[in-house]
C-alpha cells in the first residue's frame, strides 16, 4: 500500500523533472530550442565556455592547459602554441576553428571537454550555438554584471491596461515573447496576507482584514502598503534576510561554543530598516562606520557586521591560523553578501571562472587586515561577551544616541566591532591559502575586474572600500541588493544565483528590468522602502498565484512571472504566524535572544561540558512568545524546528535559503509544543465567546489562514469539530489531558470538552498547507 504512494510521489517528481528539463537544459534564461538570430556571447556562449572550458582554459594561470585561454578574445584568436597552423577560434570560419572540431569529435584523445574532466559533452544545441556564434564573427563582450547598469526605457507592450508601473512593462514584454499572459489579480484577502507577510513577516489581524475588506477606495491597497511600511515589524522582517547574510548568532561557535553579545548589532539592523536608512549608507557604516570622520557609537556598532563570524576558544590553537581564518570569512561575506561574487574561490589559486586573481583576493582581504583583532584571546574559561576591538555601551548611550535599543538592563554592554590599528599591518599573498606560507606583499585594492579602485578618490583602507562599494559606477552593489530583495518577495531572484553574479552564475531572466531597478534605486537615493513599495504595488506582484497545468508546463519555476508568488514561509515566520494568530505573540523588539521550548537534551548531548551554554535553560513567561528571529542561536546546536524548516545555521554568509518539503516538517507542525499551546490558548479564548461553533471555527480559520473559509471547508471543519466534541463528551478522548499543553495560564470557566475539540480543530488548521504558505 505504502509503496503505491511512493510510486506516485516518485512519478510526480519525475514528471516535474521531465517538464523542467525540457526548459532548463542550459543555464541562461529559459528559451525554446530554436537558435537566436544573433548569438550573444554573454547570454549564449560564455555560460558554456565557463562551465565546460574555463577549468583548463580560463583565468587560472596555474591550471591552464596548452597555454590557451578562451575567456579573452586575443588568446582565443591567436595561433595555438601546440598545434602549428591551427587556431582555437577563427572568427567567421567555424570549419577552421579547432574548438568546433574538438567539441564535435568523438575521439577520446582529441575531443573536448576531455572525458577525464567529468564535465560531460556539449549538447547538440550548444555545438550549434558555437558554430553560429563563430560564423557571426565570434565577438566577445564584457561580462554583463561587471558593466555598470544602464536604464533602458520600459518596453512597449500590447496590453496597455495591465501594467501599473514600469516593472510590469518589462515583465509583460517578456511574458508576451514567451506566449504567456498574466494571471488575474489575487483576491483581496489573499493579497492582504501576502503583503502583510512580505512587509512585516506577520499575518494580518482580524481588524486589519475587516478594515481592508471594507475599504473600497481606489487606493485602499496602497494605503495598506504605506501603513505596513511604517510598522516596527517592517524592520524586523527586512532584518531577517540580512541576519542570514551577516551570519548573526548568539554564540561563538567551534567546540566549546560559549555565549557572546552581538544582539545590539542585530537591533541596529532592525532600526536602520525602520528609519529607512539609504542602502549605501547602511552598507558604508557596516564596512567602515568606525572610520567615518564623524563616527559615533551608532556607526561603530554597525561594523559588528564583520565580527559576527565564529571565534575559536579551543585551547592550544595557533592564533595566526585563526586570525587568517577570520579574515577569510570577512572577505567571503563581503564578496557574497554585498557584491554577489564568489571571491573566496581565489583564496588558494586564481579564480577558475571569474577574472579574479589570487593577488586580487589578498588585496581585497588586506582591507580587513588592519584591525586590532587577534586570533585567540584564550580558552572558554576566560571567555567574554565580546572580543577586541570592542564597543562599550552604557545605559546613557542606550537612552540617548541608541534609544532604539532594548533597554531593560542597566549594565554596560560590550559588542565586538571593527577598529583600526595605528600602524599598518602588512598583507601577503598566502600560497595555497595557507596562513604560514606568505608570498609577495600586496596592497589593499578592490577587485579591478569589477571597477578600478581609484586611489585619488579612495583611501587604501576600509573607508575607501566602503566608498568604492557604494559608488554610483560600481556595477554590482545595487544590482545585487535589488536582486536579493526581489528574491525575498518573489521566491526567486531575477538572477537566480543571488550569491553569484559571475560567469558561473545564472543569467538574469529580465536583464533590463534588473538594470532599470538598480539605476532607479540609485537615482532615488538608495531608498529601500521606496523600492519595496514599487515592487509590491506592481501588477506583477499582485497577480493570483494560481497555476494552470499549461502555465506549469510552460514555466514550472515561474521564471517569467505570469502568476503571483506562492512560497512556504521561512522558519521564523512560521513560528510568528502560530504565535500571532493565537494571540500569544509578544511584540517586544530586540534585546537578548530568548530560549523557548526545545526538545530536551539537545545541548547537553553535544556539549564539551564547558561554558555557560552546556545546558539549555528554557525561559518562561513572555520570553516563550517572542518572534522567531529572537530565538537563541547556539551555532553548534541551532534550534531544530528552525533548521528543519531550512533556516540558515548561520555558520557562513547565506543569501538564499533552500526550500524543502519533508516529513520532519509535518511532525513539527503536528507535535511541537509551540503549535499545540497556541492551539490550546486560542481554543480556550474562543470557547469563552458567546458565539456558535461555526462562528468560532470561522474566526480561528480567519486568524490563521487569513481569509473566510469556503462553504465546503467550513463543512469539513465543522464535521471534524462535531466528531471530536462527541469523542470528548463521551469520554473516549481525555479533554483535560489534551488541553494540558504549554505554560501559558489556562482560561477559567472553560467548558473543557468543547475547548479540547476546538483545540484539535485549530491544530488541523495550523497544519494546512495554505496556512504556512504565502498564497
Amino acid at each position: 500500500m505504502s509503496f503505491r504512494i511512493l510510486t506516485i510521489l516518485a512519478a510526480l517528481v519525475i514528471s516535474l523533472c521531465l517538464v523542467a528539463s525540457c526548459f532548463h537544459h542550459d543555464k541562461s534564461a529559459p528559451h525554446s530550442d530554436a537558435l537566436p538570430d544573433v548569438v550573444s556571447y554573454n547570454f549564449d556562449i560564455r555560460p558554456i565556455l565557463s562551465d565546460k572550458c574555463y577549468k583548463c582554459h580560463g583565468p587560472d594561470a596555474s591550471h591552464r592547459e596548452a597555454g590557451l585561454r578562451l575567456d579573452i578574445a586575443d588568446s582565443a584568436y591567436a595561433p595555438l602554441k601546440h598545434l602549428k597552423g591551427a587556431y582555437a577560434i577563427v572568427p567567421g570560419k567555424p570549419g577552421q576553428s579547432e574548438l568546433i572540431k574538438r567539441v564535435t569529435s568523438t575521439d577520446i584523445t582529441y575531443m573536448m571537454p576531455p572525458p577525464d574532466a567529468h564535465l560531460g559533452m556539449l549538447t547538440d544545441r550548444e555545438k550549434k550555438l558555437f558554430e553560429k556564434w563563430i560564423e557571426q564573427g565570434a565577438k566577445y563582450e564584457r561580462h554583463w554584471a561587471f558593466t555598470p547598469p544602464v536604464a533602458t526605457p520600459a518596453p512597449e507592450v500590447s496590453d496597455k491596461t495591465w501594467p501599473t508601473n514600469e516593472i510590469d512593462r518589462f515583465v509583460l514584454h517578456r511574458m508576451e515573447s514567451e506566449g504567456l499572459t498574466p494571471n488575474e489579480p489575487a483576491d483581496k484577502e489573499r493579497l492582504l496576507k501576502r503583503v502583510c507577510l512580505d512587509l512585516t513577516g506577520l499575518p494580518p489581524s482580524l481588524d486589519m482584514m475587516d478594515r481592508y475588506m471594507a475599504d473600497n477606495s481606489a487606493n485602499a491597497y496602497e494605503k495598506m502598503v504605506d501603513s505596513l511600511l511604517n510598522t516596527d515589524q517592517y524592520g524586523e522582517k527586512m532584518a531577517m534576510h540580512w541576519l542570514d547574510v551577516a551570519r548573526y548568532a548568539d554564540s561563538y561557535g567551534y567546540q566549546d561554543d560559549n555565549i557572546r553579545t552581538q544582539w545590539p548589532w542585530r537591533d541596529w539592523v532592525i532600526h536602520a530598516f525602520n528609519k529607512n536608512m539609504p542602502y549605501d549608507q547602511f552598507v558604508s557604516w557596516q564596512i567602515a562606520g568606525d572610520m567615518l570622520p564623524n563616527a559615533t557609537k551608532e556607526t561603530i556598532l554597525a561594523t559588528g557586521f564583520f565580527r559576527n563570524h565564529k571565534y575559536t576558544e579551543e585551547g592550544g590553537v595557533v592564533p595566526e591560523e585563526y586570525r587568517v581564518e577570520y579574515l577569510v570569512d570577512k572577505t567571503k561575506t563581503y564578496g557574497k553578501g554585498m557584491l554577489g561574487v564568489t571571491i573566496e574561490c581565489a583564496q588558494c589559486h586564481d579564480h577558475k571562472y571569474d577574472p579574479f586573481s589570487q593577488k586580487d583576493y589578498y588585496s581585497l582581504l588586506a582591507f580587513f587586515n588592519n584591525t586590532k583583532e587577534v586570533g585567540y584571546e584564550g580558552d572558554v574559561s576566560v571567555s567574554k561577551p565580546a572580543k577586541m576591538p570592542k564597543l562599550f555601551l552604557d545605559s546613557n548611550d542606550r537612552k540617548n544616541l541608541l534609544s532604539f535599543m532594548y533597554n531593560k538592563d542597566t549594565g554596560t554592554l560590550s559588542v565586538s566591532v571593527m577598529g583600526e590599528r595605528d600602524t599598518v599591518r602588512k598583507t601577503y599573498l598566502l600560497k595555497r591559502g595557507r596562513y604560514d606560507m606568505p608570498g609577495d606583499e600586496v596592497q589593499p585594492n578592490a577587485l579591478p575586474a569589477v571597477m578600478p579602485f581609484d586611489t585619488v578618490q579612495y583611501p587604501r583602507n576600509r573607508l575607501g572600500l566602503a566608498k568604492w562599494t557604494v559608488s554610483r559606477n560600481n556595477p554590482l552593489t545595487a544590482r545585487v541588493f535589488v536582486n536579493q530583495l526581489w528574491q525575498e518577495l518573489f521566491g526567486r531572484g531575477i538572477v537566480k544565483t543571488s550569491g553569484d553574479f559571475g560567469m558561473q552564475g545564472e543569467l538574469p531572466t529580465h536583464p533590463q528590468l534588473l538594470d532599470w531597478l538598480a539605476v532607479d534605486f540609485m537615482d532615488h537615493g538608495w531608498n529601500v522602502k521606496r523600492l519595496v513599495k514599487q515592487i509590491v504595488l506592481s501588477s506583477t506582484y499582485r497577480q493570483s498565484a494560481k497555476a494552470t497545468p499549461e502555465k506549469l508546463s510552460k514555466d514550472p519555476d515561474n521564471a517569467f512571472l505570469s502568476r503571483g508568488p506562492r512560497n512556504r514561509l521561512p522558519a521564523e515566520f512560521i513560528r510568528d504566524l502560530v504565535l500571532s494568530s493565537s494571540g500569544l505573540l509578544v511584540r517586544t523588539i530586540g534585546g537578548p535572544s530568548v530560549k523557548p521550548y526545545q526538545p530536551e537534551g539537545l545541548w547537553e548531548g553535544a556539549t564539551s561540558g564547558r561554558g555557560v551554554l552546556a545546558t539549555y535553560i528554557q525561559d518562561h513567561h513572555d520570553s516563550l512568545y517572542r518572534r522567531g528571529m529572537y530565538t537563541f542561536i547556539k551555532l553548534t546546536v541551532p534550534p531544530p524546528s528552525m533548521i528543519m524548516f531550512d533556516a540558515s545555521n548561520r555558520d557562513q554568509c547565506e543569501v538564499k535559503r533552500l526550500k524543502t518539503n519533508t516529513p520532519l516538517q509535518a511532525l513539527i507542525m503536528l507535535n511541537d509544543p509551540t503549535v499545540l499551546e497556541a492551539a490550546r490558548v486560542l481554543a480556550e479564548r474562543l470557547s469563552l465567546q458567546r458565539t456558535a461553533p461555526n462562528e468560532k471555527i470561522t474566526e480561528a480559520f480567519r486568524r490563521i489562514v487569513c481569509r473566510k473559509p469556503a462553504e465546503q471547508e467550513l463543512k469539513t471543519l465543522t464535521d471534524y469539530y462535531n466528531q471530536q466534541l462527541e469523542q470528548f463528551t463521551s469520554g473516549k478522548l481525555d479533554a483535560g489531558k489534551t488541553l494540558a499543553e504549554g505554560e501559558y495560564p489556562h482560561e477559567k470557566n472553560v467548558d473543557v470538552n468543547s475547548a479540547a475539540a476546538l483545540m484539535k480543530l485549530i491544530t488541523v488548521i495550523y497544519n494546512l498547507e495554505e496556512s504556512i504558505t504565502k498564497t
Binding site: 505504502s2 503505491r4 504512494i5 579551543e314 571569474d354 557562513q652 518539503n661 519533508t662 503536528l670 471534524y720
Partner: protein, 482 residues
C-alpha cells in the same frame, strides 16, 4: 496497524503520473524515495545521478563509530617498545623535524617520551598488536583492517573533526553521510538515509556539533537525523499522550482533505508533495519506534554488546540501535562517542573510555557477521587525529598526558569489502609515517569507492563550483580493499 496505514484518497490522477513514470529514468535509480526533490539541482545533478552507482558496490551501508576527542593510538593499537626504553628522554629533534605543535605544548622546553603503561599482545592470523584495554576487539581481529597511517593537517578538535566529516576544515560543507544520502539515497522509504547517535564517556570531552551532520549546500533532506534510544527516538515524532493512533489518523485525513481542495484550486505541486509528506510522517511514527525498540532482542544478541546496551544513551545501546537501523536500510549511521581527549591522566581516563566501547564495537562486528550482513556493511572506528608520543604536563611512573598528534594515527575498518590485516607502518617512535600513508582525503575516496562511488564524479554544483567530499585531492587506497 497495517490497516491504519492507509493513504488518503487523493484526487491526483494516479494513472497519469504512472504513465509518465514509464517515460524514462529507471525507477531504481531514483535514489531515496524520501527525497521528493532529488533532481532539484537541475540537469547537472541529473546527469550525475543517472550513472549511479559508478561501479559495483562492495558495501551497501556504513556504520561509523567515531571516537570523538582522539583516542591514543599508542595506548591501544600502535605498539612502540622503543618509547618504553627511552621513557623520559627528550623526543629527538631529528624525529620531530620542527613540525608544528598545538599551543598547549608548543611552549614546553622538553618533550619527554612516554611509553604506554599498558600490556600489548599480538592476536589472530594478522598478528595485529592490541593493548590489554581491548580484550573483545582482540577476539575479532581477523575481521578488522587496522590502518596505522592515517594523517591529517588539522591539529585542533573542531577543524579536525569537521575535516573528517566534511572533507574540509572550515566551511559549511555537506557531511559524509549527506553525500551518501545524496548519491545513493535510502534503502528504506520510511527512514532517513543518514542517522546520527550520540554518547559520552567520562573522559575529557570535546563537544560535537550539528554542523558535523549538516547537509551543507545539499538539500536539507540529506541532513543527518538525530536518533536516540530513549522514549522519543526522533524529534517531534511522538504524538501527545492523549492522542490515540486512530485519532491521529482521523486528523490527518481531515488535513489531507482540505489540502486537496487547495491543490485543486492552486495546482501547486508543493501541495501534493505536502500531502505525501504527512503520510510519510505518519508511517515514520509507526515504524521508527518498532525499529528503535531493542527490548525484544534475544538474550544472546544482548550479550554480544554487553550489559550497558540496555541503558539508553550509552555507546553500547547506540551500537545495538545502529545495527537495527542499518539492517532496516539506513545508508549511513553515524555514532559519536565523546571523552577521548587525554591531555592529562591519560592512563586513568582511557581505561573507562575503552571499557565503554570495546565490547560493543566487537559485538557489532560479531552480530552483523552472524546475520550475514557484515559483508555488505562497512564499519569504521576512529578519531579525528592521534596523540603524541611525548608527555604533555608531568610525566610520572604511571601517568602522563598526550597532546594532539595529526602525523599518524590508527583507524580501523571491518566488513564491506575491506581487506583484514594491518596496513601501513609508523616509525619506531610512533611519530612519523614510515610506509603507506593514508590522508583523510584518501580515506574518503576509499570509503566512497567501497560504496560504489567515484569520489571525483560525485559532485554538486554550488556557487558556480562543483564540490565533492574529497575537495580537490584523494586517491583510492587499493591496499585496503579485499
Amino acid at each position: 496497524m497495517e490497516k491504519q496505514i492507509i493513504e488518503h484518497a487523493l484526487s491526483i490522477n494516479r494513472r497519469k503520473f504512472l504513465s509518465r513514470l514509464s517515460l524514462g529514468i529507471g525507477s531504481v535509480a531514483l535514489g531515496s524515495l524520501l527525497i521528493p526533490d532529488l533532481f532539484k539541482g537541475g540537469v547537472d545533478e541529473e546527469a550525475i545521478m543517472a550513472g549511479l552507482p559508478h561501479f559495483a558496490p562492495r558495501a551497501k551501508r556504513i556504520i561509523y563509530l567515531f571516537q570523538n576527542g582522539a583516542p591514543s593510538q599508542l595506548d591501544l593499537f600502535d605498539y612502540k617498545p622503543l618509547l618504553q626504553k627511552m621513557q623520559g628522554e627528550d623526543l629527538p629533534a631529528s624525529v620531530r623535524m620542527g613540525q608544528r605543535l598545538t599551543g598547549m605544548t608548543a611552549d614546553q622546553t622538553k618533550f619527554p617520551l612516554a611509553g604506554t603503561v599498558f600490556q600489548f599482545n599480538q592476536y589472530g592470523q594478522s598478528r595485529a598488536w592490541l593493548s590489554e584495554l581491548l580484550p573483545h576487539t582482540a577476539k575479532v581481529v581477523d575481521d578488522i583492517c587496522f590502518i596505522k597511517t592515517l594523517y591529517t593537517e588539522a591539529i585542533n578538535h573542531d577543524p579536525a573533526l569537521t575535516f573528517f566529516q566534511t572533507g574540509a576544515q572550515q566551511g559549511n560543507r555537506p557531511s559524509m553521510g549527506s553525500w551518501l544520502s545524496y548519491g545513493l539515497g535510502s534503502e528504506n522509504k520510511n527512514l532517513p538515509a543518514f542517522c546520527v547517535l550520540l554518547s559520552k564517556g567520562k573522559g575529557n570531552g570535546q563537544g560535537v556539533y550539528s554542523k558535523l551532520w549538516s547537509n551543507g549546500f545539499l538539500d536539507s533532506i540529506h541532513q543527518g537525523v538525530q536518533f536516540s534510544s530513549g522514549e522519543n527516538p526522533v524529534l517531534y515524532l511522538s504524538d501527545p499522550a492523549s492522542m490515540p493512533r486512530d485519532d491521529r489518523r482521523k486528523m490527518l485525513d481531515k488535513i489531507a482533505e482540505l489540502n486537496d481542495q487547495s491543490y485543486k484550486e492552486f495546482g501547486d505541486p508543493e501541495i501534493a508533495t505536502k500531502i505525501q509528506q504527512y503520510e510519510m510522517a505518519y508511517r515514520m511514527q509507526t515504524i521508527v519506534p518498532e525499529i528503535t525498540d531493542t527490548s525484544k532482542e534475544p538474550e544472546d544478541t544482548l550479550k554480544l554488546y554487553g550489559p550497558e546496551c540496555l541503558v539508553p544513551g550509552t555507546f553500547a545501546a547506540n551500537c545495538l540501535l545502529a545495527r537495527k537501523l542499518s539492517e532496516s536500510g539506513v545508508r549511513f549511521v553515524q555514532l559519536y562517542h565523546q571523552g577521548w581527549d587525554g591531555h592529562n591522566n591519560l592512563p586513568g581516563e582511557i581505561k573507562g573510555q575503552a571499557r565503554d566501547v570495546d565490547q560493543a564495537s566487537a559485538g557489532l562486528i560479531t552480530d552483523l557477521k552472524q546475520r550475514g550482513l557484515l559483508d555488505e556493511t562497512l564499519i569504521i572506528w576512529g578519531g579525528e587525529f592521534g596523540r603524541t608520543n611525548y608527555c604533555q604536563g608531568r610525566l610520572t611512573k604511571d601517568s602522563y598526558g598526550r597532546d594532539h598528534h595529526p602525523r599518524c594515527f590508527t583507524v580501523w575498518m571491518a566488513g564491506g569489502g575491506v581487506r583484514p590485516g594491518v596496513y601501513g607502518e609508523t616509525d619506531d617512535f610512533g611519530y612519523n609515517i614510515a610506509k603507506d600513508p593514508v590522508h583523510v582525503h584518501d580515506f574518503h575516496a576509499t570509503v566512497l569507492y567501497l560504496m560504489g562511488l567515484d569520489h571525483e564524479k560525485l559532485t554538486f554544483k554550488h556557487q558556480g563550483r562543483r564540490y565533492r567530499l574529497t575537495d580537490v585531492a584523494g586517491k583510492v587506497v587499493n591496499g585496503l580493499i579485499a
